[in-house]
């Protein structure tokens, strides 16, 4: 350590800055606060556990609902596409029938 040895002023500082006694009430208050905390701790643990479970349930329910909703939307979209295909197919059949009738009339 390259710090100079203390001179007289620094020694005065060291004396002046000696530790002050803590207020006598500090330890008493700390021990009381701690006892209250320890007594409350099991309740807090249960509350936290219950809150975690509730939150997990809500999140799981939300995820489930979202998956079901997406599936519903997919099925609706598929139904729409099938309906469109059915309409197109019907229109094409009708067109084919007309063309066939016209061709048949020309040959006669």
């Amino acid at each position: 350590m390259d710090i100079d040895p203390m001179d007289e002023f620094e020694r005065e500082l060291q004396q002046a800055f000696s530790r002050r006694p803590a207020p006598p009430s500090l330890k008493r208050r700390l021990m009381e606060k701690r006892r209250v905390k320890v007594a409350v701790r099991p309740w807090v643990t249960w509350q936290r556990l219950a809150a975690s479970l509730a939150l997990t349930a809500v999140l799981a329910g939300g995820a489930e609902w979202r998956i079901a909703d997406e599936r519903r939307k997919e099925e609706a979209a598929r139904d729409q596409v099938l309906t469109a295909l059915r309409i197109t197919s019907h229109a094409l059949n009708e067109m084919n029938a007309r063309l066939a009738a016209r061709r048949h009339g020309t040959q006669d």
Binding site: E8, E10, R11, A16, R20, L26, M31, K33, K37
Partner: protein, 182 residues
């Protein structure tokens, strides 16, 4: 810093005895550090309470008596700095005649020289104050101060030199009747 795990820390699940022992051993250190950093007895008591309650939450992680002492110093300095910052934001004036306003009991009052030096210390920038308090109250080396404040050693040395120079100049001006060796 190598910390040896003390076996008695592992035996009691509640840690109450360890907590009480650490409070007995270190309350004066924690309170004095907070008091000299903030200049407010009430605030210093609040900080000391917070620090010890946080220590209680982390008691299982403290590996030895040395580690506990280091941890307490570090957290006290950090909490004191936070408290000063919060007060600055609120625009409150710090270091207001702490002995008179906060009514320390007579037996706890410091000597006139100590009080005057503390008042002068209060006028120094916060970083210099922190370095000087750890150096002269806790008798730490610059390397230990650097570890406590999580600052580079060179910065700490600079704060110590500048702070000491300022304090010496102030003492030379105002404390001629007390200080002999400046």
């Amino acid at each position: 810093m190598a910390h040896q795990r003390q076996p008695e820390f592992e035996q009691l699940p509640d840690f109450e005895k360890e907590f009480e022992k650490l409070v007995d051993e270190h309350q004066s250190m924690v309170f004095s550090l907070a008091l000299r950093m903030t200049g407010d007895r009430g605030l210093a008591e609040e900080i000391a309470q917070d620090v010890f309650m946080e220590m209680d939450r982390n008691l299982g992680k403290l590996e030895s008596a040395d580690h506990a002492c280091f941890w307490l110093r570090r957290v006290t300095m950090s909490r004191s700095t936070d408290a000063l910052r919060r007060r600055r934001v609120r625009g409150m004036d710090l270091w207001v005649e702490m002995e008179d306003l906060h009514g320390a009991p007579v037996e706890e009052r410091a000597s006139p020289l100590s009080t005057r030096l503390e008042q002068m210390l209060a006028t120094l920038p916060e970083a210099q104050r922190a370095a000087l308090v750890l150096r002269y109250q806790e008798d730490l080396t610059p390397e230990e101060i650097a570890a406590t404040l999580a600052a580079p050693v060179a910065t700490v040395k600079s704060h110590l030199q500048r702070g000491l120079k300022l304090l010496r100049a102030k003492a030379a001006k105002h404390l001629k009747e007390f200080v002999r060796g400046h």
